[in-house]
Symmetry: C2
Subunit: 120 residues, 2 copies
DNA sequence: ACTACATATGAACAATTGAACATATGAAAG
DNA sequence: CTTTCATATGTTCAATTGTTCATATGTAGT
């Protein structure tokens, strides 16, 4: 029952000595990696994935999305806000109605890449 | 839980009448979309993204990953378990040491697609 | 057998999060 | 200006999640 709060790690490296340092150097900035995780976190919710999938078909208003997915208007609006915050969707206002659409082609690409992995 | 009958929704559709039904028909199965969300959820954590990024450089043991990222061995092991559950990594045992590596090229693709969106 | 080391697992805890509900904003029509 | 409809925003709350600590498993050597 040794309590080493210091550094829980191996006493020796298993690979050659420079590996740790070399990989650390090659690693992107912490901030970039966190941003990347935040991006995927946005995709990592079934409601938001459904909204994005629906928007693959084109521009759709909030109300229709709620109907299509059997969700409350509030839930859809909240999640669209998250998607907009991540710049995955954009919107266009026409009278009382707001039409949402995908912000760019990255979204399609990311979703279809994920699909490939899922459908294996 | 769900009171689907009294859902707050528009009284009329804004797009042409068949849009909702048409998009619903084109939508992938609920289960597939949920699996997709689960996949992205795995990417949606900074610790796991860091582990995956590190593994882009090649096969690395648990201990070295912990050192590279300044994480406890336990934290690394727990997250590697999640990554393995999603079939994003595989491992190889050599004596006491366990070396992890990326399961396939999808992982690289997904990460770099996400990167593109982040670096804008 | 025992010891040392690398990794995995279980449990408990704090922090995050998505949904529901209520309310607020914005826009067009009367 | 008031009403009505479409959408947005707060708030509360239950459930999920990541980390830490403690312990267990596995492996090699003595």
């Amino acid at each position: 029952m040794q309590h080493r709060e210091e550094m829980p790690h191996c006493d020796f490296m298993h690979a050659h000595a420079g590996l740790v340092a070399r990989v650390q150097a090659a690693l992107p900035d912490e901030e970039v990696l966190c941003d990347l995780a935040e991006l995927f976190k946005v995709f990592g919710d079934s409601t938001r994935i459904k909204l994005l999938s629906v928007l693959l078909e084109g521009e759709i208003c909030v109300c229709d999305m709620a109907q299509m997915l059997g969700l409350s208007q509030s839930a859809v609006s909240h999640q669209l806000r998250v998607l907009k915050g991540a710049e995955l969707v954009k919107y266009r206002r026409d009278g009382k109605t707001v039409f949402y659409s995908l912000a760019d082609d990255h979204v399609k690409t990311i979703i279809s890449n994920g699909m490939e992995h899922v459908l294996e």
